[in-house]
Symmetry: C2
Subunit: 425 residues, 2 copies
């Protein structure tokens, strides 16, 4: 295959006609495929559904320490569930808060409380401040950016490197006292699948922000989510920040949305004991406690870190073929043309692709026309605006492999058409 940039106009026109015919053929199939969100597939849901058989009789609902999960109480979470997630995250039990079915809600609530009440080291609630700025490594997770945007923050884009966010830039930016926090997905970043290097993590823990209440948001969403190769150990950011003398700077999050079930998993926040005491003093006004029955169900099902890793290995057997279907198609159809670059993640839920600048929107519009829904162009950047109109987030986990192969075929055709249109046909 000839690279598109090296083609003559006539060659591009011929190629366009051929790809267009293929695209029209796919479009005529009336497909309805979705690669938009990081949703597990039905096979994964079925795989864990036996967790619901673990608690049936009244005595199953009393934890080993005697805690009655069916009644009110235990604001910070069921003690055995806190212990389970401390084991997985490598932190202390006293640092773990176990919530409801969404870690996103805990992130939102942590920031909302900074606005309404202020965090431990806040001079006043952020709602009383003129301006709050927030660091957003990009490409990144659209729902993170949306939380910050929703509170009226000024979002500052920090470019991602192979090793994580550009730390020279971060260290400079945090000198501004209006910069109150930063989003991070340190392992298998969304969407690029980058694992922050030890050097980046070290510099992150050693940040000295001017804002006394700077929130290092550490969304460890994919902490045990390898689909290829074995488990990759990760550093306990809480200890690192503590050693650096900034124990109260970091808020870590995780969930079982992609371990057990997105609809009824368990969300976790981990932070210093001092932050925990402050957070509990605020959240006790909001709730008497989250669903402890579901928390105990997770304890009985996952047991410990080892049990969780064993389950993740089973998920990997479902996920790996899906990621390979995507990467194989891109390798075959796109790589030789040199119209896009993409990463080869070994964990997480996404493949991040950078199309020829100025063609992402057009590519996704063509996909939509042919019945393939993708994450909206620009979604991976603050304010939903990709300055290069280039990044495309591929979420290959929901469709069965056969459908996925069709969907990625559509995507490849669309990438080609958009590139050829850009080059002129």
């Amino acid at each position: 295959m000839k690279k598109y940039l090296e083609m003559t106009l006539a060659e591009r026109q011929a190629e366009y006609a051929a790809v267009k015919a293929q695209y029209d053929g796919l479009k005529a199939l009336g497909l309805q495929l979705n690669m938009a969100r990081g949703k597990p597939g039905t096979e994964q849901l079925d795989m864990v559904t036996d967790m619901f058989t673990l608690m049936l009789k009244p005595e199953d609902f009393v934890d080993i320490d005697g805690t009655e999960t069916r009644n009110y109480g235990e604001l910070a979470g069921l003690p055995s569930a806190r212990a389970l997630f401390a084991d997985i995250l490598g932190c202390r039990v006293s640092q773990v808060f176990v919530g409801g079915n969404a870690s996103l809600q805990l992130m939102y609530d942590a920031i909302a409380k900074a606005y309404t009440h202020g965090m431990l080291h806040s001079e006043k609630p952020w709602s009383k401040l003129e301006k709050v700025k927030w660091l957003c490594p990009a490409p990144g997770y659209d729902r993170h950016f949306l939380i910050s945007q929703s509170f009226g923050m000024e979002l500052i884009t920090v470019p991602m490197t192979e090793e994580g966010p550009d730390m020279d830039m971060v260290e400079e930016l945090v000198k501004d006292p209006a910069v109150k926090g930063m989003w991070n997905v340190p392992k298998y970043s969304n969407p690029e699948g980058i694992i922050y290097s030890d050097a980046v993590i070290h510099r992150m823990a050693n940040l000295s922000p001017a804002a006394p209440d700077f929130m290092l948001m550490w969304d460890n969403a994919y902490c045990i989510h390898e689909f290829e190769g074995g488990f990759v150990p990760f550093a306990d950011i809480l200890s690192l920040c503590e050693e650096a003398g900034h124990a109260d700077m970091v808020y870590e999050f995780a969930s079982t949305s992609k371990v057990t079930l997105p609809g009824s998993g368990v969300g976790i926040m981990a932070c210093s004991e001092a932050n925990m005491a402050h957070f509990l003093s605020l959240i006790t006004v909001q709730t008497i406690g989250f669903d402890k029955v579901n928390q105990l169900r997770h304890v009985k099902y996952l047991k410990n870190k080892e049990g969780a890793l064993a389950l993740m290995a089973r998920h990997a057997t479902v996920l790996a073929p899906k990621f390979h279907a995507v990467l194989d198609a891109l390798d075959r159809e796109i790589a030789p043309l040199e119209i896009a670059s993409y990463r080869r993640p070994t964990g997480g839920y996404f493949v991040s692709l950078d199309a020829m600048p100025g063609t992402a929107k057009r590519t996704l519009a063509l996909c939509k026309e042919a019945g393939v829904t993708m994450t909206g162009a620009g979604a991976t950047f603050p304010y939903g605006i990709d300055p290069n109109d280039s990044n495309i987030r591929i979420a290959p986990t929901l469709p069965p492999v056969a459908e996925l192969e069709q969907a990625i075929e559509v995507l490849c055709s669309c990438l080609k058409l958009a590139a050829l249109e850009k080059l002129g046909v």
Copy 2:
């Protein structure tokens, strides 16, 4: 028995010695009893635990309309769960939001969003206002008052009458544009068990607050919670407000915490479709959706209003003897002495007792000394301050009847001792 007020000093001294001996005997038993919170007893928890046997196989988790409950989605709640609670509350399905395990969280979040973002008709977020005032019918629910207090509102006490809050006062107070809302527990009010009269409800729906974003918080926590007599129908406040031309003024709440399980029930908010659209536009930033598996479990278990009422009749068989144990003891031990008045609720979770003014704190301190934990004195008033130091909330639902009889015996002794101390011994 002679009324305490009619006793001579010598008679009071003799009575004090006799009651003190009885109290010391009870104290020596080393009791550890709790009548502090409205928690269901173990018998009630066990009664509903078979709900967990309804969803075991993968196909059980797909709703009748095809909705997959185990995956992400359905921000406003599972459609069939919205329909179930619309049936129970008598409103439209489109008015119902089904959340996580706590309606308190939905109340908090609604108010939090007024502060951070503003409600539908707000001129600006409440955090930008100088002063927010809030109406608190008292005696009332301490957790309601705490939410308002936590946001720095000025709490205005509205006295309760036999028919509900003093509406003359309410109608006057809402002329102040700084008055932004009001708490209500319209059926079996916490703690008094009062059912708002039709006249009060009519005046409430026809309020014309000066604040365009006034929030009539309608916590219908005990909407189907009769323990004596049959189900008492209640008006749909949403329709009434709509008819009065104030559809967006009211936010109704309910939960299954005391229908199924406090630890893993389902919380509901109901509001106008316009409010719903606004709320969804805000809460979509906070979460992708609450636990739909648990929502479907409730649909399968309760089925409809009729099914819920049948279950409540079973709860009543457990609860009625507990309330009778309390009321019988009070009738026997306290009523003849004329040192306290109390109500005879037929639903809800509490008995409200007004002790001789100036003796509530002392009574509860004596209870605590003897191993009986009660809701703190003053808790039923804004800022935790009962101006008369008189109201005591009795929560008789948690202890088994035998323990309850001991606990109420302790309480009766303490009421007597505190009254005698007050009168002089």
